[in-house]
């Protein structure tokens, strides 16, 4: 024992080798130090005892050599190890240490000599053959290296560990393809096709053979069907690359050609979602749902995912499929509401009548959005008094107000929400705000005020909802000519300049401040015109505004009136008249108005979208840039010019 008998040492080295030849530890400086530490711990007692027991000097030298090695001082460590080895030539730990130092110092010929000598004593040592192959390869003697690795395999051809060891040495030398071949040979030789799956998968990923790597993961999944999450986490390392994803999908589809398999389908569906390929994913989830006997639940979950990613076409089909199965009764209202919402979004996407200048005419909107409305109505019928019916009423009310211009219908629908949705405070607040706006549009400011006051006082209202209600109450004061009251309300919002409504409040407050003293009569008429416009009475509003321009030419708000005329003409589709109004503003109020940049931008928009005259549109935007380079609209004007020039933005 004191002399370190060969059989004991041999067994220690094999143990050590298997421990350190894992790919992550092999060959680098880090693993080298770890290797030294492991050696010191495992072999320390066995090795240092003879050294210690014989001479303290040898022990000190050994520890010094170890320290130098750990510090990367290989040139200084090497002679110490060599000296120790001369005194104990059979010591396997010292042999290893000397070999390591020569490798680090690239003294390959010496390392080769040493390994060959050791092989004479242990000609069937797999590890020595593999190591010798490594040194020969690094010395540029590639054919001899191959021969050594073959010799290593020949030493234990039926032992899986042989192949693992040789492949690890090859991987250390970055011979990844060769390492993969060795693993495959090992499988064949041992007759076990499931050996080395994870090792091969990792190697093949590293060589960008994504199809091969996926094949290995599938092999592993077949043996461990519960480990789909593990396989997904491994595959997610490569699925960021489109080519890797495609390769993986191809392999899985190939595997599915023989027979349907749930884990494989789940993997394929997950891959399709990773690649945002929702159509393909839906096809897969239809199969998953059927195979898993999920009764539409898999389809419903998928639909939610697709809807969250705004893939509404696929989401609608998935919800519909889940409903058709049918999905469990508890999930059904969710699925139906999801379906109706997706259909509504799809109809909005298909709304080609809307333009940046004006919304879709009600005559077009009713048939366009009718499908979604019917779906919501059916939910109301089937689930009365529930949150689903309340939310459906709200959706219908919003469409009636914003798309169909049906204010009476909106009032009726929204009334249902308030009556039914007591359990959903947030929806109630939104509905009251909406209801107030509808009443303003109906000209009934008293009812509107009542709703806005409800929100103002509501504990459950969010700060933004609260600010909105105060702003809308200030607007009602303004429409009614109660300018002082309006100013007081606006002052409450402008305390917090970060609030959503702070800008609107500041703008209206400044307008009131400028005109209340200088032109109170004109301001009153202007407020009346704005109230008419809010009710959709554009023609009457335009007439009032033109009268203001004529009667109060010195009022500060006269340019605002002309600007408003242009806006109302635009929203009514009178684009030529609108362009003329903006041109008049630009001509008559040059040097006087603060609205000039807005007028130039609006003129550009009218030419671009209304009159379809890109040349004049571009000229208007360019004029804005020339006249008002510091305008807040300058960046948008630049974007529009580039858009008109056909440049990518």
């Amino acid at each position: 024992m004191c002399n370190g008998g060969p059989s004991i040492q041999y067994s220690k080295v094999r143990k050590r080798d298997l421990a350190i030849k894992k790919p992550r530890c092999g060959g680098d400086g880090c693993s080298l130090r770890i290797r030294v530490l492991i050696l010191a711990i495992l072999a320390g007692p066995a090795l240092s005892q003879p050294v210690l027991s014989q001479t303290p000097d040898r022990d000190s030298k050994f520890r010094l050599a170890q320290g130098l090695e750990q510090a990367g001082e290989y040139e200084r460590a090497a002679p110490l190890y060599e000296g120790l080895l001369q005194g104990d030539p059979g010591n396997i730990v010292l042999l290893d240490a000397v070999e390591r130092m020569w490798m680090q110092l690239k003294r390959y010929d010496q390392a080769i000599g040493l390994l060959r000598t050791r092989l004479l004593r242990a000609p069937s040592d797999v590890n020595l053959h593999a190591q010798l192959g490594s040194v020969l390869y690094r010395a540029g003697r590639e054919k001899e290296a191959d021969a050594e690795w073959e010799a290593a395999i020949a030493s234990g051809p039926s032992n899986p560990g042989t192949y693992r060891l040789v492949a690890a040495v090859l991987a250390e030398n970055r011979l990844l393809d060769h390492a993969a071949d060795i693993y495959r040979r090992g499988r064949k030789a041992t007759g076990d096709p499931d050996l080395f799956t994870l090792e091969l998968a990792q190697l093949l990923s590293s060589t960008m053979n994504y199809g091969g790597a996926t094949g290995e993961y599938l092999r592993w999944l077949a043996k461990n069907p519960g480990q789909i999450s593990f396989v997904q986490s491994r595959l997610s390392q490569i699925t960021g690359r489109p080519e890797a994803r495609e390769a993986a999908e191809g392999v899985i589809r190939g595997a599915l050609a023989d027979q349907p398999d749930l884990p494989l389908l789940q993997l394929l569906g997950w891959l399709a979602m990773e690649g945002k390929n929702y159509e393909e994913a839906l096809n897969v989830y239809v199969k998953i749902d059927a195979l898993a006997g999920a009764r539409g639940n898999e389809l419903y979950q998928f639909a939610n995912h697709a809807s969250g990613d705004r893939a509404f076409a696929v989401a609608a089909r998935a919800y519909q499929a889940a409903i058709n199965v049918p999905v469990a009764a508890g999930v059904m209202p969710f699925a139906r509401f999801g379906y109706a919402t997706s259909v509504l979004e799809l109809q909005a996407e298909a709304d080609t009548f809307a333009s940046p200048l004006r919304g879709t005419p009600a005559t077009e909107a009713v048939p366009l959005y009718g499908g979604a409305v019917r779906l919501f109505q059916k939910i109301i019928e089937d689930y009365p008094g529930t949150e689903f019916s309340a939310r459906s009423w709200y959706r219908i009310g919003v469409m009636q107000r914003e798309k169909f211009q049906d204010r009476e219908g909106a009032v009726t629908s929204l009334r249902h929400v308030i009556d039914e949705a007591g359990a959903v405070p947030s929806l109630r607040v939104q509905t009251e705000l909406m209801m107030g706006k509808v009443h303003v549009a109906r000209g009934d400011t008293a009812k509107a005020e009542a709703y806005f006051r409800e929100v103002e006082a509501a504990r459950e209202a969010l700060p933004d909802d609260h600010d909105e209600s105060v702003y809308l109450l200030a607007e009602i004061d303004y429409f009614a000519g109660r300018f002082d009251s309006a100013m007081q309300r606006l002052a409450r919002i402008t305390v917090n300049l970060k609030a959503d409504y702070a800008n609107d409040a500041l703008r209206l407050a400044a307008f009131l401040q400028e005109n209340a003293a200088a032109a109170p009569e004109a301001l009153g008429k202007f407020a009346g015109a704005e109230f008419l416009a809010r009710q959709g009475k554009n023609t009457e509003a335009i007439a009032v505004l033109l009268a203001i321009i004529q009667s109060f030419p010195q009022a500060p708000l006269v340019d605002d009136a002309l600007m408003k005329v242009g806006e109302l003409q635009t929203s009514a589709g009178f684009f030529r008249e609108a362009a003329a109004s903006y041109e008049r503003l630009l001509a008559e109020f040059r040097d006087k108005s603060t609205e000039l940049d807005r007028a130039e931008f609006a003129l550009g928009e009218v030419y671009q979208y209304g009159l379809r005259d890109p040349v004049r549109a571009q000229a208007a935007f360019e004029r804005l840039l020339a006249d008002h380079p510091k305008s807040i609209l300058a960046d948008r004007a630049r974007q529009r010019i580039r858009q008109l020039r056909g440049e990518s933005l």
Partner: protein, 426 residues
């Protein structure tokens, strides 16, 4: 009255001497603090050159302004891109020229004649971080081509006047990210891709491929090319050239240990800018050599509030090249870090011109030199408007930094190859 006549005559004579036609209205693009978008102004200059117009770069005049013949399309383009310009009458322009060319002013006029053909050395696909030069080129709307190892080795650099080296590691150590990112998918994919590329091009190791690429780029510069590099592309380029005949990479990078004597085998005669440097031996340390100052692992001690560097002032009439490269509206510039932040002054070759340094320290941030018939410029740090740009950080939105002095230095380099060479006065 007589005095004014004489002065006007002098102006006309100066203009004729400069070869400019009198009577043409001009557009002046001032580059001082009044400029609304300094970065896009370079794009305007590049666009004008691309359309065959000539531009006068008025060195040190209002921050290095541009003057060119007045054309409506230039004015419109300035408006569209948000670049401030001033229309100057022929006489107004003549006065400016006369002022610039006065002997007692440190100003001069450099004529820019031809839009340089620009290439960026960049790997295919996306990296998890971005590159300041491509950001600047894209924002300024300056066209460029992307080249990678195979194109460089095929000799395609000869088709370009100007080359930028992306945030690159020419030592073949994959950015020395091993210690922090060895397990990251993007790191492994990068290693796999580079190994595949090396094998495809007949190299046993990535480090050998990168060294060959560095040598090809050095040959391009020597033959008259203009090279600009930032961050780690600077020091690793010189390290790769110096290490032509030795192996500095540890086993985790190339499969075998480094040459134990690699330091002694470095050949500094092959490098462009640095000499006598010591290559970092620790493969796990995020640092290549002692060129980087301050070292990457000392960056935590840097205070962004006090990290500024100063541009040197050169004689515009006698040293036009460094003057062009240092044109700016400020001369003290906010510092920024990178894998290579600055360059240790004591390791810079004496033939190299230092353009900017952090005063009171040994840190050089910006340098320029000649190599053969070409020139190179090295700029330390990664992103002038992101003090500590980390892997995975989103790219900087330059529309929020339209007047960035740090980015201006990058764009000075793009126009520099467009300058007509004139006989040096010294």
């Amino acid at each position: 009255m007589k005095k004014r006549t004489v002065r006007n005559l002098l102006v006309i004579l100066l203009m004729c001497a400069g070869g400019r036609a009198a009577g043409q209205d001009k557009i002046l693009i001032p580059m001082d603090l009044s400029q609304t978008d300094h970065l896009k102004a370079y794009g305007i200059a590049y666009m004008a050159l691309s359309r065959g117009l000539e531009i006068d770069w008025l060195l040190n005049y209002r921050g290095g302004s541009f003057m060119l013949d007045a054309h409506d399309f230039i004015a419109t383009e300035c408006l569209v891109r948000g670049v401030l310009f001033v229309r100057e009458s022929a006489s107004g322009a003549a006065t400016i020229y006369a002022d610039v060319q006065r002997e007692d002013n440190n100003m001069d006029v450099v004529r820019l004649e031809k839009a340089p053909r620009v290439a960026v050395y960049v790997p295919p696909g996306f990296q998890p971080w971005d590159d300041a030069v491509t950001l600047a080129l894209d924002y300024a709307e300056i066209k460029y081509d992307k080249l990678w190892d195979d194109e460089v080795l095929e000799g395609k650099l000869a088709n370009y006047d100007w080359l930028h080296l992306h945030h690159e590691d020419f030592t073949g150590q994959y950015g020395k990210f091993y210690a922090s990112f060895a397990g990251a998918a993007w790191y492994q994919a990068q290693v796999a891709q580079l190994e595949q590329e090396a094998r495809k091009l007949g190299f046993k190791k990535v480090s050998e491929l990168k060294k060959a690429v560095a040598r090809a780029i050095a040959r391009y510069v020597a033959a008259g090319g203009f090279m600009f590099a930032m961050c780690s592309a600077t020091d690793t380029f010189d390290i790769a050239l110096a290490a032509e005949n030795t192996d500095i990479c540890d086993a985790m990078y190339d499969g075998d240990p480094p040459d134990p004597d690699f330091q002694k085998k470095l050949d500094f005669s092959k490098t462009l800018a640095f000499t006598g440097f010591t290559v970092e031996k620790n493969p796990l340390r995020y640092e290549y050599s002692d060129i980087d100052e301050p070292p990457s692992d000392m960056l935590g001690a840097q205070n962004p509030e006090t990290d500024y560097f100063t541009l040197f002032e050169f004689s515009a009439k006698f040293d036009p090249v460094p003057t062009m490269l240092t044109q700016n509206h400020v001369n003290v510039i906010k510092g920024f870090m990178g894998q290579t932040t600055g360059f240790k002054k004591s390791l810079i070759k004496t033939s190299v011109t230092i353009l900017a340094e952090k005063q009171g320290t040994d840190e050089v941030r910006y340098l320029h030199g000649n190599f053969g018939r070409g020139t190179f410029t090295f700029y330390g740090g990664h992103d002038p408007e992101d003090y500590q740009h980390a892997v995975g950080n989103p790219p900087t939105d330059l529309s929020l930094h339209k007047n960035s002095p740090g980015y201006r230095l990058i764009l000075n380099n793009i126009l520099f190859p467009a300058a007509r060479k004139k006989q040096q006065k010294t």
